[in-house]
């Protein structure tokens, strides 16, 4: 046993796969400790907040400020609202409004802005200008005004008893706060999803659920496949005929179609993650059964099996001690692949809206389903689905690597 393990861990493929899988597992254990709480809690109002660090604007007003005189702060402020394209569009506006622009350099921000302020009038309707364009200029004008406003901003509060506005704070252009001093700062490494949930927290939790689904599905499928394969292969005859009859039927019916039909017939409030896992297991045992059976047939007439039979050993004992150990390595490899395909099957089902009920636990498939329903792929919210795809890819990649590694160790024809 020790030797086998040593051999296994010497396989570089297995090792890489194992490391990736372990780090995913570690992440699942450690991250909830760092960031505890319900992964389905809707922390953000609105959909798809971008990844980044969010600083409470309310709290930062009261926070101790330091004065920093940074070169180019004003330029940056203007650049934030005035891109190169905006500058060209401003020129277009001047042209459309037949204003003389000879000698105007659009990189000269001050002159450009002065000219803009002198000439822009939101109420003018230029010939041939679309509503979208007109709205664009109004927004641009508002942004410029906001960025180029007075040096000091005043924050005031409405006194509840008198209804008067009371000045609370003044903010200078050179005031800075240290993020560490602000009471409420939230980092969302992967932003929020369509419900305003913390995507990373949800992803970590979903990863756990999906692996659990994979494990259950893999166990069920391997168990059924192994049982039928062993019985059919060893007993042969009538039992084998029956086993093969069912196996063949299940081989010709596409298992995914079967999976869809079964999931569809279970009403959604009954569809927990475990139910889905068992359903997946029940539809994916076929290939395990077939290959176990063929291996058992080749083992059935080996000398040690015959000897055992002559010695009067029971059926159970022969299968468990004389046959199972010879196919154990194969079964383990098949099990690993079943886990991987179980996770993929859940993702596919959920993507079709046939996955586990949605209010219970997050799963990788459900996360993708909601991202797709909210057209995250169309509106550029990559953080809602891409990390999920990557996670699924990593999980099945690591499991497949481990499988290939094991294959190299156990399969004599592949051994170096």
């Amino acid at each position: 046993m020790k030797n086998t393990l040593k051999q296994v861990f010497h396989s570089p493929k297995f090792l890489v796969g194992f490391c990736i899988f372990t780090s995913i597992l570690l992440m699942m254990i450690i991250y909830p400790l760092v960031n505890p709480g319900n992964p389905l809690e809707m922390i953000g109002l609105g959909t798809f907040a971008e990844p980044g660090t969010y600083v409470s604007l309310y709290d930062s007003v009261g926070t101790k400020t330091s004065t920093l005189k940074l070169d180019g702060a004003d330029v940056k402020r203007i650049d934030q609202v005035l891109s190169g394209e905006d500058r060209v569009n401003m020129l277009n506006w001047f042209t459309a409004d037949s204003i003389d622009i000879s000698g105007l350099d659009i990189t000269d921000t001050d002159t450009l802005l002065a000219m803009w302020k002198a000439n822009f009038d939101p109420s003018i309707r230029l010939q041939g200008m679309t509503k979208a364009m007109r709205n664009y200029y109004i927004r641009l004008n508002d942004n410029i005004n906001a960025a180029a406003s007075a040096d000091i901003l005043t924050v005031s509060e409405i006194d509840a008893s008198t209804g008067e506005t009371v000045e609370k704070a003044e903010i200078n252009k050179t005031d800075y706060v240290n993020v560490g001093d602000v009471a409420n700062v939230k980092t969302l490494p992967l932003g929020t999803d369509n419900f305003g949930r913390d995507t990373l927290k949800e992803l970590v939790s979903a990863c756990g659920t999906s692996i659990r689904i994979g494990l259950i599905a893999g166990t069920v499928a391997t168990f059924i496949g192994l049982l039928l394969g062993l019985l059919g292969g060893y007993l042969g005859g009538f039992v084998d005929d029956i086993v093969m009859f069912f196996t063949n039927i299940f081989t010709v019916i596409p298992s995914f179609v079967l999976l869809i039909l079964i999931s569809y017939s279970i009403s959604q409030d009954q569809r927990g993650a475990n139910t889905i896992a068992i359903v997946i297991g029940f539809t994916s045992w076929v290939w395990t059964a077939r290959s176990v059976r063929s291996q058992v047939i080749s083992l059935r007439n080996r000398d040690h099996v015959n000897l055992s039979r002559l010695s009067g050993h029971s059926l159970m004992r022969i299968i468990l001690t004389d046959i199972l150990p010879y196919i154990a390595s194969y079964v383990v490899m098949a099990f690993i692949l079943q886990i991987s395909s179980g996770i993929l099957a859940e993702a596919q089902l959920s993507l079709l809206g046939l996955g586990p009920k949605t209010t219970d636990v997050p799963t990788l498939g459900l996360m993708m389903n909601w991202a797709m329903l909210y057209s995250a792929h169309l509106n550029g919210s990559w953080w809602a689905y891409f990390p999920v795809i990557l996670t699924i890819a990593f999980i099945s990649f690591s499991l497949n690597l481990m499988n290939t590694g094991l294959d190299q160790v156990f399969n004599p024809t592949l051994r170096d």
């Binding site: 509503k131 979208a132 419900f195 959604q268 009920k357 209010t359 509106n379």
Partner: protein, 600 residues
């Protein structure tokens, strides 16, 4: 032998390839000049069955849509055009305003002398009368819908129509509001053509309804041009009577109206973004990103949130056939715990006024409907949502507590387990149901979501009784001349209990004798103060008993336009008073006459 096999297999492969090319080349297409075509999305799903305006199942949204919120008058026309912005009716086939008699039981409508059918014959009062009679005879949606309110439509002379209301025993109109709806909802179909159809179908009603009407006579500015499973195209009728000075004075600008049949909303939105669609009737999440982030020439009727005119309220209904939901405290507690701001931000992405802006009632957010009831009188009954403590206190007071300590409350000794349902794929509703389920969790009532397919969902919801869905979503009426009365009836009238195939309302089977009286009284009440009292009382009952609770305010028609090709679409600031109804519905069709090319 070997050679023969090789040649045979090659031949087979060739045959397969050939047949594939033939099949794919078989789909015919029409090329439409882009700058003469106005493209739509979000109206037509699946291929059309025909152009028969007397049928309910032509699945032809562009050609045939008779909706009280504004009928689509591009091919067939109504007497009047409804404008949801101010509730006004603009004459189309009719000449001038309609006239009530003094008893408020009859409407007289004149027909425009210029109004003509596509075959050049004038539109007469006989056409209007015969259309109504045929609708009733065929038992189609318009016939059945108006039979209880309209006693008869008769032609006084060629250009005068008299519409008589169905009267109650007391001699007043059952519902004069519905008579006004009739004027702007129902198409006028040519009598001569109906008679041709009757002769063709030997007067068999089923055959008449199934006829595809390829030979139909129309009166609108467009007519059928091309339709297959990928596209529906209508072409302008350059002989359209409406270019007469007494109507529009010109032809509509686009020569073609085309609707590509998209697989789903996402496909339609991609096309809108690409500039392949000009007018999009689809809910677009975060629509403002299209111009703010992507810088696309796309805009909506209002420049700021909620971007459209919200006129109805998608509503969650409590199933009162479920014992625990017969308890008003449970209903109100669930409704109080729901985070409506989250629904507004997530499901509608802010494209809806909040319940803080427009407190809940049976009325939509338009000023006209809001003025019908006394806001102060129902102030104490309002709830803002996300009030977990308030909801818990209400449940405790009603004796619905968690007695076995498992974190879930019990009712009659059993753990309360409910589901919240809506059709699969209706994203905004699904999100809303998720948020309702989350609210249940926070007050100790287990609610799980369930999203069946629409085909299953609709049969269950409209059944006489059902115990499958506990909390489920349905719509409420949009703005029509009969609102908010129609919506109150839809939300609470017990007349819909026990109706098989109930599409009319009260899907939760709520029953209250007083509200039935109010629903009966409102249409015939003319005194303004009394009317306001009745409306206020109805809202009071609604907020006390909570038979259902609205989750958001929503436009009847979404209206996002891409100005890559066409411009001068209706805009809230242009002073033209054209409603954002996709340039096709009700008075919204006026937009078609004012469109301009961006690059002429």
């Amino acid at each position: 032998m070997k050679h023969t096999r090789k040649i045979l297999s090659l031949l087979l492969a060739l045959m397969l390839a050939c047949s594939l090319t033939i099949v794919s080349a078989g789909a015919e297409t029409v090329e439409l000049p882009r700058n003469e075509t106005l493209y739509f999305a979000g109206q037509q799903w699946g291929s059309i069955n025909g152009w028969n305006p007397l049928s309910d199942d032509m699945n032809n949204a562009m050609g045939i849509t008779q909706d009280a919120g504004g009928a689509r008058t591009i091919m067939y026309e109504t007497l009047y055009m409804y404008n949801m912005l101010d509730g006004s009716l603009t004459p189309l086939i009719a000449d001038g305003d309609f006239v009530w008699n003094d008893a408020h039981t009859e409407i007289t409508v004149k027909i425009k002398p210029a109004a003509k059918w596509s075959d050049g014959t004038p539109i007469t009062a006989q056409d209007v009368a015969y259309t109504f009679e045929t609708n009733v005879k065929l038992g189609n949606a318009k016939g059945n819908g108006y039979k209880p309110y309209v006693e008869s439509v008769t032609a006084v002379d060629d250009s005068t129509v008299l519409i008589k209301a169905m009267l109650t025993d007391a001699g007043v109109a059952v519902n004069p509001l519905q008579l006004v709806c009739f004027l702007e909802e129902c198409y006028v179909v040519q009598k001569a053509w109906i008679q041709t159809l009757e002769a063709r179908c030997s007067n068999d009603t089923t055959a008449m309804k199934n006829d595809a009407a390829e030979d139909v006579v129309w009166s609108g500015p467009y007519t059928k041009y091309f339709a297959n499973d990928q596209k529906v195209v209508l072409i302008r009728d350059d002989n359209y009577w409406g270019q007469d000075a007494s109507m529009w004075g010109s032809l509509p600008v686009p020569k073609y109206i085309a609707h590509v049949i998209y697989a789903d909303n996402a496909a339609g939105q991609s096309a809108l973004k690409a500039g392949e669609v000009d007018v999009c009737q689809e809910f677009i999440a975060n629509v403002q990103d299209l111009w703010l982030k992507d810088g696309l020439p796309i805009s909506t009727y209002l420049n700021e949130a909620p971007y459209g005119i919200c006129v109805n309220m998608p509503t969650a209904w409590f199933n009162l056939d479920i014992p625990v939901l017969q308890n008003a405290s449970v209903r109100k507690a669930i409704a109080m715990a729901v985070d409506y701001d989250a629904i507004n931000q997530n499901a509608m992405t802010g494209q809806s006024p909040t319940f803080a802006d427009v407190p809940r009632s049976c009325m939509n957010p338009t000023a006209g409907e809001q003025a019908t009831f006394d806001h102060d009188a129902v102030k104490d009954l309002q709830w803002v949502g996300n009030d977990i403590e308030g909801a818990k206190a209400l449940l405790e007071a009603a004796g619905i507590v968690d007695s076995d300590g498992d974190g879930w409350r019990e009712f009659n000794g059993e753990k309360i387990t409910l589901n919240s349902c809506c059709p699969n794929g209706w994203t905004d509703w699904m999100a809303a149901m998720e948020i309702v389920a989350a609210a249940g969790k926070s007050i100790g009532i287990e609610i799980t979501t369930e999203f069946p397919e629409w085909s299953v969902y609709q049969t269950i919801v409209t059944a006489t009784t059902q115990t499958d869905y506990d909390i489920f979503m349905m719509w409420t009426d949009s703005a029509t001349p009969a609102q908010p009365w129609g919506r109150i009836r839809m939300m609470m009238s017990s007349e819909f209990i026990g109706v098989e195939g109930n599409w009319s309302g009260n899907w939760g089977h709520y029953s209250n004798a007083r509200i039935d009286e109010i629903i009966k009284a409102i249409p015939t009440t003319t005194d303004a103060t009394e009317l306001k009292n009745l409306y206020t009382e109805a809202v009071q009952i609604y907020l006390t008993d909570v038979p259902s609770f609205s989750l958001m305010y929503r436009p009847n028609k979404f209206h996002a336009v891409n100005e890559s090709v066409w411009t001068n679409f209706p805009d809230s600031t242009d002073g033209r008073n054209i409603p954002p109804t996709d340039c096709t519905d009700g008075y919204g069709i006026a937009a078609l006459y004012a469109l301009e090319l961006v690059n002429p």
